[in-house]
Amino acid sequence: MAVNYNAEPLLKVQGLKQYFKVSHTFTVKAVDDVDFEIYPGETYGLVGESGSGKSTIGRSVIRLYDPTAGTIRFNGMDISGKMKAADQKALRTQMQMIFQDPMASLNPRKKVEDIIGEGLDIHHMCKSSAERSERVRTILAKVGLAPEHASRYPHQFSGGQRQRVGIARALIMNPKLIIADECISALDVSIQAQVVNLMKDIQEETGTAYLFIAHDLSMVKYISDRIGVLHLGHLLETGTTEEIFAHPVHPYTRSLLSAIPAPNPAVEKQRVAEGYDYKSSGIDYAQGTYHLLEGTHYVKCTDQELAAWK
């Protein structure tokens, strides 16, 4: 899976801000000045703790929210601000989302066939019902489900199978980008691996790009080409998976990495995870600017901080 980094980025997010006004005096800055880009066929992993704004970014990018500021360019169109009807239609087919909880995101009163085919119906992409069921069946086979599953309801499936339906629903539109928002965290360990492998196979075959949002760094490492580390709405560090895992610079990234428990009891029993507390660390995220370390590895900090961490 070679990603062409000289190509035009598929998604380019610049200065994205997403604020939520809670009251006259209080505004939540869920995402504050975030830049990143995703190339065609690439997987970009967004990690951070809950409340860091990673899901908000995904939802702003697919325009479930109206961004407060910043530009989002997707596949040559500007999708921030008010969109043209044609752009909106293109966005709704070319960008798809997989949600965290497959039970909550699938309509319990619809058959799997109709859940998967809903996008086709809305965009009038099939001429006959035979063509529609043919396409649904092909997609079902692609995600490892049997054709007879088409006439069942979501409650008749196990958790892993339901998430496969969620993936099939996203895939049938032939999207260029799929936003996977914590799509494996509700699944069992052995099933997580199955779904991650499936997503990789699909990428190999169709060349779609993923924005993979998760808090489990070990799975993110498996699937991502590049990683962005978020904390309190700021993108603190971004780079290729190797760069982040081999040379983490920001103290928050280091604490995240050291918190992953390794399945090695003799080592794990002695190890103490590196702590990180924003308030006592004396770092002000808003002061930082992006510093290039090497390749695509950027850290958001001030000059003094960078010198101290190195």
Partner: protein
């Protein structure tokens, strides 16, 4: 050190549930024992029966459950004179368990702190509640103890926090409060049911270190229920691997991680993402866990087991003993079975883990 004191002894536990779809045979002969001051982990997928086993030990099974057979022997000391006592929890009525065992001798920490705390009650009151109810502690004394407990679990400014409601705290703080409540009556046994699954990795690490520290200071026994082998590696002395209501492999932590024998344990270990290699694909256990509504003869893991033998479809494997503590329920361990080695990738990974362990100065 003196003779190890057995706290909990579960023998041949067998539980089924009546549901509208039929009888679900959820627990099929489970044996677990636990000694004072030790930590046992129960590992398994959802639906393997790990939570049900511990609920039985707490006497809080759902009303549609039937205990078919088994013994849950719990040993403790009377508070007044320290004389030993022993009860079979399954033979006691709910009321007795409620006033003598729950919260007082055995305390439980649940997965989601937001649902296990009362949203309408300040946390201070929730911590004091158990002490006042069980021990008739005077209110002022209970308050003192609650404050010191909050400090012990690492919450700053405890006097002020006593008046906070659960929604005013972050997820990690809430779980700390739940642990403080669990410890308020000085239990002998703490059961942690997926205590960190709902939390972030950084907070997970802190909570686990907290539980470990408290365990050492107070000398209590802990049972961990989890599906995360990384967490198990950090905390446990003994591991029980559960599958479809049975324990398929049990042993010391080193035996399970460095010398696993059951194909299911192999699968679980291999499916963990490995941070040291750049493998493109993750190993997966094919298929999904069985539906216990439809019982079939033989080994429940056989349909997902690439090493399954013919006998696996006919008869359930007994527990084969390997070392003093290491037991495996798989026909592969039978002397008549063909010799099967663990997958080479896993073998290589375990070798690498051992290397790393040596670097950290532990002899295996």
């Amino acid at each position: 050190m003196a003779e190890k004191e057995k706290i909990l002894d579960i023998k041949d536990l067998d539980i089924s549930f009546r549901t509208t779809a039929g009888v679900v045979h959820a627990i099929r002969g489970v044996d677990i024992d636990l000694y004072r001051g030790e930590t046992v982990a129960i590992v398994g997928e959802s639906g393997s029966g790990k939570s049900v086993t511990m609920k039985a030990a707490m006497g809080i099974l759902a009303s549609n459950a039937t205990v078919n057979r088994g013994v849950i022997q719990f040993n403790y000391h009377h508070l007044a004179d320290g004389s030993p006592a022993s009860v079979d929890i399954l033979k006691q009525d709910k009321k007795w368990i409620r006033s003598h065992i729950n919260g007082r001798r055995i305390a439980m920490v649940f997965q989601d702190p937001m649902t296990s705390l009362d949203p309408t009650m300040p946390i201070g009151k929730q911590i004091m509640e158990g002490m006042i109810w069980h021990y008739k502690t005077p209110k002022a004394e209970a308050r003192e103890k609650a404050i010191s407990l909050l400090r012990e679990v690492g919450i700053d400014d405890p006097e002020k926090r006593m008046k906070n409601y659960p929604h005013q705290l972050s997820g990690g703080m809430r779980q700390r409060v739940v642990i403080a409540i669990a410890l308020s009556c000085d239990p002998d046994l703490l059961i942690c049911d997926e205590p960190t699954t709902a939390l972030d990795v950084t907070i997970q690490a802190k909570i686990i270190e907290l539980i470990r520290r408290l365990q050492k200071e107070r000398g209590i026994s802990v049972i961990y229920i989890t599906h995360d082998l990384g967490v198990v590696a950090k905390v446990a002395d003994y591991v029980n691997v559960m599958y479809a209501g049975k324990i398929v492999e049990k042993g010391t932590i080193n035996e399970i991680f460095y010398d696993p024998r059951h194909p299911y344990t192999w699968g679980l270990l291999s499916a963990m993402p490995d941070l040291d290699t750049a493998d493109e694909r993750l190993y997966t256990i094919p298929g999904s866990p069985p539906n216990l509504l439809y019982e079939k003869p033989g080994d429940a893991f056989a349909p997902r087991n690439q090493y399954a033998l013919v006998v696996d479809d006919k008869a359930e494997p007994p527990m084969f003993q390997i070392t003093e503590d290491h037991y495996v329920a798989s026909w592969l361990l039978d002397p008549r079975a063909p010799k099967v080695e663990m997958p080479p990738e896993l073998r290589a990974r375990i070798e690498r883990m051992k290397e790393e362990a040596k670097k950290h100065g532990s002899e295996l």
